[in-house]
Symmetry: D3
Subunit: 193 residues, 6 copies
């Protein structure tokens, strides 16, 4: 087997921290300080500074704001849709974040393998049904889907949040896949106890 520690971050070159634009280096150092390591998605995208900035701005607009969709629920959306797209990076990295946000060491593996059988609330199941439909059959999303969400207390704005997160991570999964982005080893065990 390939030795994991020697495996590259992605198929594309990774600039050294010194060579990065100031704003990008600052953001990367901040996440390193907070997490103890630099998630590889930051290093992969640093090769394209304009795309790095747009990606992070979009990410923050969706994932850091206040919303009736909790932060744990938003990570459920990321994990469920990533598993359906076989995005190794997101399943592993956001699986870790989900375990932490939900304070539940089992939830990420359950959702990644089959969200229909995960220990989640009925409202979360309806949310994931909708989140899965957006990338797979967005052209058929209709009033019935939205009515099901409203019955479980999701507002029209929450519906936008769910759909936009599913859409944004649909994009990020494709980036991860075509660049062969590798998940940091730290993610595998984070939040497991």
């Amino acid at each position: 087997m390939t030795q994991a520690s020697q495996a590259p971050v992605s198929r594309y070159p990774v600039p050294s921290l010194d060579a990065m634009p100031e704003d990008i280096r600052v953001r990367i150092l901040k996440v390193q300080e907070k997490s103890g390591f630099i998630p590889n998605v930051f290093l992969m995208l640093a090769y394209r500074p304009d795309e790095f900035r747009a990606f992070m701005a979009y990410h923050d607009a969706l994932m850091d704001k206040e919303s009736g969709v909790t932060k744990a629920e938003r990570e459920m959306i990321v994990v469920a849709t990533s598993a359906a797209n076989q995005c190794q990076y997101s399943v592993i990295a956001h699986g870790a974040i989900l375990r932490i946000r939900a304070k539940n060491p089992l939830i990420a593996d359950q959702i990644a393998s089959n969200y229909h059988k995960a220990d989640i609330a009925p409202r979360q199941r309806v949310m994931l049904d909708f989140a899965m439909k957006v990338p797979q059959q967005a052209q058929e999303v209709d009033e019935a889907d939205r009515a099901a969400l409203r019955e479980h207390g999701f507002s029209e704005d929450n519906i936008w949040d769910i759909a936009a997160i599913a859409s944004f991570f649909g994009m990020s999964k494709r980036l991860a896949n075509f660049t062969n982005l590798r998940a940091n080893e730290e993610f595998y065990t984070l939040g497991r106890n």
Copy 2:
């Protein structure tokens, strides 16, 4: 039939120009001045200023830069992948832009209906084969796909461009679909003669 002129921009409210943040209003007025009308995607996204800004920054980073993938070719990618996802807004709006960029009144309808039979160069066919694979089977993109692209003169950076455009518009199509974004009537005829 619904009267087209009364049809709403999207399912979500559209703020008045006066009520928009300054930077967003300026951008919208600029596109209106250039095109003669405001493409509905701007009005739809203005409801969410942070997402508007991130979306446009991402769009510009991919679509306005210099690249070995021409601007007409980039629009081919948008039209082909939008048709596969049944995204009405993008097929119609980017179909118009493609006709203009390629100075070819037939090309958009050909690619939207079946790019395998469109009047395009072999290099462009290989480019579209890859662009279609990214949203549909990104998990299986491999060295053989990249080799085919390199044989037709695409660099590793061009490959990123193609894949990133296919990924970004994969996201935008989902936004258009869940918001019921309506294509402006102007797009239907632009570039047809």
Copy 3:
């Protein structure tokens, strides 16, 4: 790019008008007189006179008769099912006929890109749902499908019409695809204003 004007009608030889059997030549001249040009499907099929005759007889039996399914609605069926099968010829040629029959310059592009979001009546949506099911899952068509159609005023004979049109154009699309049948340039702009 290939120059469109030099592109062949199809992969198969096209007999000269002089060399065609009398009845076929007459029919072709009549359509030319009416339309101002000869739709390529006539030239392609003229290579096989017996199939030409059977095809046109079938076409006329379904498309020219009186029926509770209007002629514009019949063209909607052709465009929607052709788009699903990526039949370039039918999307473009019957898109033109639909624009003319419906006196609506937007309708064909809307239906081709996503009929769920087209400006059509509820009854037409149900009709297209059924028309799409016939080629894709005819083996599962059942009483519930027919009940939905009857609720919107379609008789059992109308149901036959819808299903037979979807079936016949399912055949014609395959003919167009394996022969590389090319749509005449005239179709692209017909009925757009």
Copy 4:
């Protein structure tokens, strides 16, 4: 279980022989004389005389002519594509005809259940691979498919025959399915010894 002998021919009314137009009655009596029974497809289509005539003309143009594709091979195409579409009538009725034409009591059940494992020649396997691609992915039929056929001795005209038969029976299967056309009991055992 429903008693087979009381089961209707199809969902639609069947006119009495007396009430049929002369040419249709003549054709039906001829097939009855030859086969000993009236295949139900004739009775079902007699409800729509114009479609009956066009259908039979098309059928004869493809199935009765001389061709480098033998009559047994043409029936193989019908059985293989009908099985893929779950068309009960065609699998059973044309299965019988195939057994007779090929003088082989096993071949129809083998092809209906999995033509990859049927006792057929390599040339026939390539023919069926192509015939299956026409209804399923006609939009992707390309030069490589045709080259494979030519290598096994099929001419361009034979290729048209194969594709046209697959296309025509694609249509007839849908007719059979939406009308609930029932296969005559005689077909089940014909040609089995």
Copy 5:
């Protein structure tokens, strides 16, 4: 065409009866005595005695026991799911057994070609809908599926029986396919009159 009588049982060697372990030889001789021939699945599996024993034990546990699901109904499950998986051996061999168990010479061909249009009771249709869902979408089996079965008189234990049979024959079909297991000629005609 390959001469059927010379065709091998499977891709793998078949031990002679003498070379088989005693218990396996006894079982095989017993089935030969009862049926008049040795079904090829016994000869194929004899190459792997431990798997032979486990397979037959599993088979008997599901197919020979008393159950509210009749023996004919169990064979319907085998035939319907085998047809969906294009398992030639099971469609042909279990088709024969179904004809015998149901005392109905038409039923196997009807179910193999399209169970939605077979002469079966409503309860059997619901049973087959469920049996088809287990191999195709077992991850989505839910309470609604079970409720539909209970409405038709199936107990929770019957539901296990149906699902377990669909699951077990899902396995056996794969074994038959990768070994190229050939159906004995005797099966083609058994139970046809």
Copy 6:
């Protein structure tokens, strides 16, 4: 959220150890002694003693024997095919066994999320390509698949082993899914360091 510790083993009753047949109790106590807990699949199947015995006999025949396919490789097959079928129990339980057998804490999550991007040898990738084809398209397995395996040193007997394991666990996944079999919490963390 449901409290995991109160969640039932499966939808079906679990007999008490005392109420189980002697041979089954002995087997269960042995696995408990070895692992420190009773994997739920044993408790689920104990409800059906005959099926328990056949299942375990089959399992042992495939998983415990000597073979050129290593025990870690066999678990790779189970995890990859289980992930494709969204079998939560097998992904989680066999993921744990794979980590232990391969002495690699990362490998199970990598293979479950996307085996194309896992840290495995080329030979193992070819093995998994084949193992995935067996449940999904066994009817199309052909000589080219086997040639690719032989090139990587797999014998015809190894090929049987790979296909049989993929087939057997295809069955077990369906059992797990329709019974709502729940993975023991112990599996989530086993072998992670």
